[in-house]
């Protein structure tokens, strides 16, 4: 009987631990929904990006997208913190030249607008600078 209680307590502790682990995970869906609600008026939503730095073990997350000239692209970042939590968005063109960022003069902007001048593949990267959670959601929208 004693053995049964010990195994029961162990199981309950395992379940509780499982719960806290799940809670500590990077919930990209919540952050991207948050970001969708912040899209600037006039822009049309295209897609969401998962920014999960896996607690710092991943220092760079990259996506790519064909952008079209004479189109404005809006990209924002949302985190569980009040600010961008040190997440830097950088857009590079197909030759890896940087063409846009949300980080300038030591300031982190929650959103950027990229006025695309040349159609082609662009790389959207997320890196971390003194980030606490290494976790966020990001959305891409466009305006013609």
């Amino acid at each position: 009987m004693r053995g049964f209680y010990i195994s029961s307590i162990t199981l309950v502790l395992i379940l509780l631990n499982l719960g806290t682990t799940v809670l500590a995970q990077c919930d990209f869906q919540i952050q991207s929904q948050n970001c969708i609600s912040k899209i600037k008026d006039g822009f049309i939503y295209v897609k969401s990006f998962n920014v999960n730095g896996q607690k710092g073990s991943k220092q760079k997350i990259e996506y790519s997208y064909v952008m079209t000239k004479d189109t404005q692209y809006y990209l924002n970042i949302c985190t569980s913190e009040e600010d961008t939590d040190g997440i830097i968005i950088t857009i590079y063109d197909s030759n890896r030249n940087p063409v846009s960022t949300n980080h300038a003069e030591n300031k982190f902007f929650p959103a950027l607008i990229f006025q695309c001048g040349a159609t082609g593949i662009y790389y959207i990267t997320y890196t971390f600078k003194n980030s606490k959670n290494f976790c966020g959601g990001s959305t891409l929208a466009f305006k013609k």
Binding site: V66, S94, S100, G117, T119, I121
Partner: protein, 298 residues
């Protein structure tokens, strides 16, 4: 005592399972019946290329901005849904109906939008992915002419389906959906251009689709050896690429300039693209594209 404990434990575990997880199990079983070949490269690489393909709504927005009016004759007939029996036909035409819905939504043609919602419902029922679409809300938003919410919800629903297919290693269906959507948006752009050949911006945009076609071919190439239908689509799109090969694209890089506007960092890209496309080439693109598209919808 022990029996009760394990019963309670089992109840907790069952209760902790989210509704979506339960739905996924039955969907997984049903997806086993849909034969979609596996790609040669990794799913991760396939998904990366899928994410590069621009949404069809971007081309529609460009056409609307150019002043072109709405024309339902450019679109697939929503009643055609009953013609599509195989999963390949259904996935391709789901992409086509999705592009038609986006185009109709953008022009606030709510009655047409509702017809396309109906056609999409039939397609997703057949593909057993209806749980990703909130049809009641979509129809209500179309009736209320709530354009922003309508565009957002339909795009999100299609993104969810893509993500689901990718997670389930069924990216082949995503590839077909994306190919269908792109073919339809190129077909509409061609029709619009045919009626307004002074629109050089649209002509150039059509020429720039060479970049997107290259990516779609990269995707389909991975499935063509394992499926006759994929192989047929690949051959057809290769003939379209032959026409596009005559388009010349040149990009000149220019350093971006930045300014802060209302708390947003705005980057003006000073790069530029030159598109060289002759009238003969665009005519060839139009003809080949029409043949492929009409073959898919008929």
């Amino acid at each position: 005592m022990q029996k009760y404990f394990y019963f309670i434990l089992l109840s907790i575990l069952v209760a902790c399972q989210s509704p979506r997880e339960k739905g996924e199990l039955s969907l997984l079983d049903s997806l086993e019946n849909i034969e979609i070949p596996q790609p040669k490269i990794s799913d991760e690489q396939i998904n990366e290329i899928i994410n590069q393909i621009p949404a069809p709504i971007e081309l529609s927005a460009m056409m609307k901005k150019s002043g072109a009016g709405y024309n339902k004759n450019y679109l697939n007939n929503p009643e055609n849904y009953s013609k599509y029996n195989s999963s390949v036909e259904q996935a391709l035409n789901l992409g086509i109906f999705g592009a038609d819905l986006g185009y109709s939504n953008l022009y606030e043609e709510n009655q047409q939008s509702i017809l396309y919602v109906g056609a999409i419902k039939e397609m997703v029922d057949e593909l057993r992915i209806s749980q990703f679409f909130n049809f009641e809300t979509i129809e209500r938003l179309a009736e209320k002419r709530d354009l922003d919410s309508l565009l957002l919800l339909t795009t999100q629903n299609f993104n969810d389906v893509n993500l689901y297919f990718q997670e389930q290693q069924r990216s082949g269906l995503s590839v077909l959906m994306i190919a269908g959507g792109w073919i339809e948006s190129l077909f509409i752009a061609n029709q619009v251009y045919s009626n307004n050949q002074q629109n050089t911006e649209l002509k150039e945009t059509i020429g720039e689709q060479k970049i997107v076609l290259k990516k779609i071919l990269e995707l389909i190439a991975n499935y063509k050896d394992s499926s006759e239908q994929f192989d047929h689509l690949y051959t057809e799109l290769m003939s379209l690429m032959e026409a596009f090969n005559e388009v010349e694209l040149e990009t000149i890089y220019g350093e971006p300039t930045y300014e802060e506007v209302d708390g947003v960092l705005v980057a003006k890209d000073n790069s530029s693209t030159t598109v060289i496309i002759s009238n003969e080439t665009i005519e060839k693109i139009q003809n080949v594209c029409s043949g492929i598209r009409n073959g898919i919808v008929s």
